[in-house]
Symmetry: C2
Subunit: 356 residues, 2 copies
């Protein structure tokens, strides 16, 4: 059971420096009790058998009934986190919500969560909501970690909430919905530490996925462009991260988890990282049983000219299947069973990895 | 002209500690070119003469034509900041937007601003949008400062944008609209430093001001409750801040700036701080020409029983008029002339103070 870190606070404030091992102390997940079986959805939609279950790699899709919304998801997951780990509400100094499920254009979900704090009398809780598609939960986590490392930290925990309800208009994207919330307790002396100085980002202006119709729950999606954006950002981030970390490759990495719009995209993403490793290797060994076996036909290809190339994708998925099974597949438990939880997806992946 | 702080970065990273004097290096303001004169608005609305100009203390109200929206306000103010101070886009490592003017429920205004960065090739820019009524700009500033103090800081600047368009349905609140954007450059060795360890907050769940009608620009406002929320939060924050700072009072403070929904509320707020000083003084001197002259009738009154008491408000405004003129009035230049800029209001106040 985590406790407040008053000692660490005093030491770090005195020295004007960061506390040690800042990261994730605990994770709580909440998903709705109701779901649609993807095989049945294929039949209902008149889609070919396997289109959702094999093509997308999805088994079930969670959805909320009319008694739940993103506020109730967030309330439930935060109370679960606090109760399960015996954290007192007065010991939380920051609470931030990453979501793109907007019930109000002004009042944040964070303030709704302040109801949970009312009895404790603790109103000194920094942080509000942060929004940009599925990235909100990650930015909320980064903000919380920076807060713990900053002079504003007062020795108390931060709580980060990532919560979304993903629903699509009827059509190709509908089976890629989902719903869920993850709450994380952040502080020093964490079992899961965010390594310092390795964070890598790619931000770009694009209209691949957006919600301009404010009175609709549905996003506007350009599926092809969205996948291109996802893979381009992945390419950039992996290369930047690998460089900062002194040459990370799939081979020297234990686990890789991804934001999962649907399982198959994650498998293609992991496969793409193997291609990046191949491109970065000075003399990639493509001999049978070697790391890059079966990839000789990719010599001379580039990241740019392979995005969307189905033949290359299939080849890469095949040659990276062992890495996918060993290092990524377990993290997709919630993704397969619940679907895309937008901001919560990546952290549902983290929880899945812990649970398997 | 500010420069990147690579030296400070190296020193602080090596020691694992915060760089010195983190704060605001530069401020840029943009307001629309069009405004409504409040005297003319009184006549148009059939309101009594002086209702808006004296009762609210407002002179003009800025508004956007159909060629501007919150995206264009933000684009303009960021480009202004960068060009005026000769900052290169590759020297920005964080960009965050505080706004409650929501044009899209998923895609952030921050990503729209990434268009300005395209030519530089810099896509490694952390930060997205952050929302909770008028507090978004302040949280964005706090997040940026924490980032500079954290291990994630890479020696580059942060840019914080606060931008909003405030429009109200016809009725009492309409003359309290406004529009504008402020951009701030954040880094170490700043002329305006955020003092460490003194930040004070009050967060509570309330439905005083919110925007549940997602297809409308107009908020739902309970004016009376909203003012009560404002003053209650002010009471708490001032008391907490004063305690942390070792007994701050109006007398030992040079300037006080406020979020300004309308000028008269700020004057009442400053007046209320004088009442808090009075309540906290062990033996407040109410003799003629003394600090608390004219306040003897307030002995025995409390913060709670004076909220909304017009007689007390008038008395407090009167006895604090010298402090208001000397320490706060100058900061209301933009507030009086442009109106409420929501997230940008407080920082428009800061810029007003610099300019006068």
């Amino acid at each position: 059971m985590p406790v407040t870190s008053a000692g660490a606070k005093v030491a770090s404030l005195e020295a004007g420096k960061w506390p040690e091992d800042v990261g994730i102390l605990a994770v709580e997940v909440y998903v709705p009790r109701t779901c649609v079986n993807q095989t049945e959805l294929e039949a209902f939609d008149g889609a070919s058998a396997g289109k959702y279950t094999i093509g997308l790699g999805q088994l079930n899709m969670g959805f909320c009934g009319d008694r739940e919304d993103v506020h109730s998801l967030a309330l439930t997951v935060v109370r679960g986190l606090m109760e399960r780990h015996g954290v007192a509400y007065e010991d939380v100094g920051r609470l931030e919500v990453g979501t793109e499920t907007i019930l109000d254009k002004s009042k944040s979900t964070k303030t709704v969560l302040m109801q949970l704090f009312a009895e404790s009398g603790n109103t000194s809780v920094e942080g509000i909501d942060t929004t940009n598609a599925c990235y909100g939960g990650t930015q909320a986590l980064f903000n919380a970690v920076s807060w713990v490392e900053s002079s504003a930290w007062d020795g108390r925990f931060a709580v980060v909430v990532a919560a979304d309800i993903a629903v699509y208009a009827s059509g190709n994207a509908r089976p890629t919905g989902g719903a869920g919330a993850v709450a994380m307790l952040i502080g020093p002396n964490a079992p899961l530490v965010l390594e310092r100085g390795l964070r890598s980002l790619h931000m770009e202006h694009a209209y691949d996925f957006y919600k301009p119709n404010l009175s609709s729950e549905f996003p506007v999606v350009d599926g092809k462009l969205s996948i291109r954006c996802y893979l381009t950002a992945l390419d950039k981030c992996y290369q930047r991260y690998s460089e900062k970390a002194g040459g990370v490759t799939l081979a020297n990495t234990d686990y890789l988890i991804f934001h999962s719009p649907f399982t198959k995209l994650v498998q293609k993403s992991l496969a793409r990282l193997k291609f990046i490793d191949f491109l970065r290797a000075s003399a990639p060994d493509t001999a049978e049983s070697a790391t890059y076996a079966g990839m000789e036909s990719l010599t001379g290809r580039t990241l740019e000219d392979t995005i969307g190339d189905k033949t290359v994708e299939r080849l890469l998925v095949k040659v990276s299947s062992a890495e996918f099974s060993a290092k990524t597949s377990d993290s997709l438990l919630l993704g397969r069973e619940v679907g895309n939880m937008y901001c919560a997806s990546l952290y549902g992946g983290l929880a899945s990895l812990f649970a398997t």
